[in-house]
Subunit: 157 residues, 2 copies
DNA sequence: TATTGTTATACTCTATAACTATA
DNA sequence: TATAGTTATAGAGTATAACAATA
């Protein structure tokens, strides 16, 4: 099922004077739904997609991954359990610290990761396609600026 | 817990030639996290926030709401059950169709809806604050265009 | 027969608290 | 003591399938 507008209705009422912010709410929903659709096409949950992408570069420890994904380590335990059960990732020991474990991509997981990544990039590309070429770059640049300042704020707090 | 980058890593590897699309993935995460944070500040789940906003204008029927939110009607039953248990909404009969029910905001639900909507608008406003004034409008305009074309595509399919 | 909504069931994602093992 | 990770528990959100009541 695909969402249409809803959350934005109230913003149109309560946020007058605040500009076109409701568009950002819809944008969040469109982007999130798009990624969820791509994940589903590859038989992944959105969170599994993010997990695989987090392992694209190299194995990561649980603490590290939990932080990257913005979830508690206990939640990650379950996430990795399920991904492991599906043959996407493996837990391996970390040399030099017998408390820790590394999570690594399996062969299948690596393929799923690449397929998902490619699919997301392609789907987002299609989303921008209707825009004039010049606007696409502008939009990405501004998106990047917003993300950057948001992260800067969070890191301070 | 707040997420940092992760999903975008693989895109940087697999999506070369596709431009700055990874920024859009991060943007989705930043926007979604921001709305989740605001919901939490008002003791709502993100989905409850969306539900309340969907009822801001007038009562809605279950089928209608499920469609707006992009979930199955059975899932909406549970969502409304929990919201009703918290005193945010009520189920009332629809005159003229004894199969249907309307969902309406309670007094509390209405206040929560306005508070949440205001909070979201304010939080999104802060997110744009670091941008030059001119860029803010541009960003919202482009966001609106992306959303519009995405919805147009979905409506066709 | 078709539509509206609920119930039953199962799974994913999440948090908190308590625990084990290692540093 | 502090850190890494798991287990236990509880709750939210979701889908599918089967169902009841009404149109």
């Amino acid at each position: 099922m695909r969402p249409d507008e809803t959350t934005t209705d109230v913003l149109r009422c309560t946020a007058h004077g605040l500009g076109e912010l409701p568009e950002l709410v819809e944008l969040a929903i469109v982007l999130t739904s798009t990624m969820a659709r791509v994940a589903e096409e590859h038989e992944l949950t959105p969170m599994q997609g993010r997990l695989l992408c987090g392992l694209g570069e190299q194995p990561r420890r649980m603490v590290d991954l939990a932080q990257s994904l913005g979830i508690e380590k206990a939640a990650l335990t379950g996430l990795v359990d399920r991904a492991e059960r599906r043959g996407l990732v493996e837990r391996t020991p970390v040399p030099g610290d017998r408390r820790a474990v590394q999570v690594t991509l399996t062969e299948d997981g690596g393929q799923a990761m690449v397929a998902f990544g490619t699919g997301v990039a392609s789907a987002l590309g299609e989303l921008l396609e209707p825009l004039p070429v010049k606007d696409r770059a502008t939009f990405c640049r501004l998106a990047s600026a917003v993300v950057g300042s948001a992260r800067a704020t969070w890191d301070h707090a």
